[in-house]
């Protein structure tokens, strides 16, 4: 019958065109870089053995709403990419899981610090090999460190500053010894060594002058990447030749979600074992009440804050800035807008960090705020008319609520009128840097776990990337002093001073601190939440 024939013709044509279109196929297994052939053979063997092992145990499946961008550790500067790399590559030093910034010796068996605090000599661990059999030695370390600057030139500077901005060089002392010289006696130098750009890569599988964006060979870690399909899944299998403890589960699969509600549902339906970043308040409510699901939480290191453009009147007046800060009710914002996924924050430096001083605590006072604003000429007859800017999706979909609650709080005083404005992220950054958003909401994750990273990048002049343009020599002096203070007691005192001055000046106003949430099904254990928000797949156990 003609109708049927036509249908089949149509269907065949559609299929034919699709075949042509998608022709060439894509090999979804490891793309191990252009420099070596032997690596692909090893990868295949790894596949086979992985299949055998995997057949015995069900894989551990972790869901996330983050997305991948690159495997080039010298360039990439995003959470999820760091997390992936963390499972399959160690550095000379690694962060202690669940620690508050402590590091332990990983690929370096030990290290010494010179008297002046700038030279670190690392003694490398013996008998370690990369998954493909290449020996781990000083050449590999030098290769990994030297290529950072080159990659930054090619790809554009990004994460490389974590090495290049703080060090003046590295040199090979002998086959198993490397010396790194820092530009100053940084107290947080070991934390820097544990960051992603410092991970040690395989000279045979990475290139010294080309980015390894899709290179899944990684380094030396508890896992190796078995396969990676962008947007779908990343499959890790145990590294047979790892020098340290074998991972608890031999196969881990990361699944990518576009939407956190779906992730919560997938956890409940058992399609994933663990739901990691980022669960929204609604999801947490659902999961906290669900049977067979455990929700764990821990204080995180993310901070949320208001930015003032200190060059735009009336926000160039510290009294206005502080006055507005005093109108806030951080607990209400945390309860209503964030529904408990963040907690009130009373200093840019979160609790638990060296020298934390909750200087904003006790400043929430509407009457006192109005009095202070009155001294700046703002009162009911002459209200402050301002725009409050936010970006609706970058910080999760609770952001419009945060803005709405802030508006209510500011307007409740009767002396402020707020108009809410938003821009999607790219435009938001643009406007922010150009100083076009006098009052806006931003967030921050630390690069390394030290109080300095919560203060210096913000209030130290020229403070341009944030659109703040805050310039106060007194603040600069204090910040510089605390960064190089050798004595801990002295440093804590200086940090306290910084945070006290911060309140008076209020160039940025801390509002909330993000908590980390993870939800998992029964049968999963040993889930360690890390303040750095690094997830340690290799520790997790599944029945």
């Amino acid at each position: 019958m003609k109708k049927n024939k036509l249908f089949s013709l149509l269907a065949l044509l559609m299929i034919a065109s699709m075949v042509l279109v998608a022709c060439g196929g894509s090999d979804t297994t490891s793309d191990t870089g252009s420099t070596s052939d032997t690596s692909s053979d090893t990868a295949d063997t790894a596949d086979d053995s992985a299949d055998d092992v995997a057949a015995e145990e069900a894989p551990l499946i972790i869901g996330t709403t983050d997305s991948w961008s690159s495997f080039e550790s010298a360039w990439v500067y995003s959470f999820h990419d760091w997390e992936l790399f963390h499972q399959c590559a160690d550095g000379l030093l690694n962060s202690v899981a669940g620690g508050a910034g402590e590091v332990y010796e990983a690929l370096a068996e030990s290290y010494e610090v010179s008297a002046d605090g700038t030279e670190y000599t690392f003694h490398l661990r013996e008998g370690v090999v990369f998954p493909d059999g290449t020996a781990f030695n000083a050449d590999a370390v030098m290769f990994s460190l030297d290529r950072i600057a080159t990659i930054a030139e090619i790809e554009g500077a990004n994460a490389d500053f974590l090495y290049t901005a703080y060090t003046s060089g590295a040199e090979k002392i002998d086959d198993m010894t490397v010396k790194v010289t820092f530009a100053d006696a940084f107290a947080f130098a070991p934390q820097l060594v544990a960051t992603n750009p410092w991970k040690i890569l395989n000279p045979n599988q990475y290139s010294a002058d080309a980015a390894g964006t899709t290179n899944t060979s990684c380094g030396i870690g508890p896992y190796v990447i078995d396969s990676f399909s962008e947007g779908e899944e990343a499959v890790f299998v145990a590294n047979e030749s790892y020098y340290g403890d074998a991972p608890a589960e031999s196969t881990v699969i990361i699944r990518y979600f576009a939407d956190s509600s779906t992730m919560a549902l997938a956890l409940q339906s058992g399609e994933i074992d663990i739901a990691w970043k980022s669960l929204a308040p609604g999801d947490l409510t659902a999961l906290e009440g669900a049977e067979g699901v455990t929700v764990e939480t821990q204080g995180g290191t993310e901070i949320r804050y208001l930015v003032f453009n200190s060059t735009t009147p009336p926000f160039d007046n510290p009294d206005v800035r502080l006055g507005l800060a005093m109108l806030l009710d951080r607990q209400e914002i945390a309860d209503l807008a964030w529904q408990g996924i963040k907690v009130p924050l009373y200093s840019m430096v979160p609790p638990g960090f060296l020298g934390h001083n909750p200087a904003y605590e006790g400043t929430e006072d509407v009457e006192a705020a109005k009095a202070l604003l009155a001294t700046a000429g703002i009162d009911e007859a002459n209200p402050l008319v301002m725009d409050l800017w936010y970006s609706p999706t970058h910080y999760g979909d609770t952001e419009p609520d945060v803005a709405a609650v802030l508006k209510e709080q500011l307007e409740a005083s009767g002396v402020v009128q707020v108009s809410l404005q938003f821009l999607e992220w790219a435009a938001y950054r643009d406007a922010g840097r150009a100083g076009e958003m006098p009052v806006n909401l931003l967030g921050w994750y630390p690069d390394y776990l030290d109080s300095d990273n919560y203060l210096n990048p913000f209030a130290h002049s020229p403070a341009s990337w944030s659109g703040s343009f805050y310039d106060n020599p007194d603040m600069d002096a204090l910040l510089d002093a605390q960064a190089s203070a050798q004595d801990e007691g002295e440093r804590i005192a200086l940090l306290g001073d910084v945070q006290d001055l911060w309140v008076t000046e209020s160039p940025f106003v801390p509002i909330g601190q993000g908590s980390l949430f993870v939800a998992y099904n029964d049968g999963i254990s040993n889930v360690v939440l890390d303040p750095l928000a690094l997830f340690h797949y290799f520790l997790i156990e599944k029945e």
Binding site: K2, K3, L6, L10, M14, I15, S17, M18, V19, V21, A22, C23, G25, S26, T28, D47, P59, S69, Y77, E153, I154, E155, G156, A157, N158, A159, A211, T213, T214, S227, S229, E230, G231, E232, E233, V235, T251, I253, R255, Y256, F257, A258, D259, T262, L265, A266, Q268, S269, E271, I272, L423, E424, W425, A426, A427, R429, D430, W444, P457, W465
Partner: protein, 338 residues
Amino acid sequence: MSDRLRKYILVRLLLTIPMLLILVSIVFVVLRVLPGDPALAILREGASEEQLDAFRASMGLDKTIPEQYVEFLSGAIRLDFGESMTRDRLVIDEIKTFFPATVELALYSMVVVAGMGIISGAYAAKNRKSPADYTIRVASIVLYSIPIFWLGIMFQMYFGAQLGWLPVFGRLTSGNVPEVSITGLYTIDALITGDFDLFIDAIKHLVLPAMTLGLVLGGAFARLTRANMLVVLEQDFITAGRARGITERALVYRHGLRNAFIPIITILGLQFAALLAGAILTETTFSWPGLGRLVVDRIFDRDFTTVQASILFFAIVVAGINLLVDILYGFIEPRIRY
């Protein structure tokens, strides 16, 4: 194939090119006009001016807009769309990675759309003015009026989380991604390689998304089919057939449908653009790694190169489908004059 048909196809093909050109130009202009420096969106928060400049230079953004336009067009003709601005990958590779997923979703959604539309539309047309007809009409409009993501999450919650019958996300169960892909459509690949398990897994994951997208679009399609069928059924040859004693059923489903087929196919072709639009929301709801979702993400990232090429790609597909439809039209209906 007759000369006239050949000429017709040629003319249509030629007309497609300026159309695509206009489209691509619109996209190009819109993207360049978009506020928001890509460098700022892509690099980290604390990046310095020099770093931003370096990035812009490496992406060719420091050239004037006409220069960029020419570069883009000359590349497009050679099917070289350059590199993605946020990933160090060729755009064409990115499209190859994500497009098959959308195609597969669209394909099965179309099956739902066509099946639902044709059957209910033809049925309603045949039993016009009956309660069933009205019910189908109202149901069609209701389906078409429901926001896709609402329908999607309700399906997920009910059939997925509550009943546990079907998976709520993704294209396959974890770990099942085949090592080598031929077309990128898992169902087709599974049939080609004879991997039955893969086929079943892929189909299971397709049910909810295809139903969501298909039902919503199917509502619109059912109405249109009905309208066309009514026109056809009014015609003389149907009355003549009835007089000759052909059964109602045969009249509707064989003669009526066949003649309504032409406009129906045309509409199906036109629906494809709507399908791709609906795919964006569906792909987000079901975490389906397709091109629609990619484009939306990359618009936010200001990844011009990827967005331009992807939209061009979409347009080519839609134009291609429309062209196919018109050619089929030419085959079936020799009376067409152009």
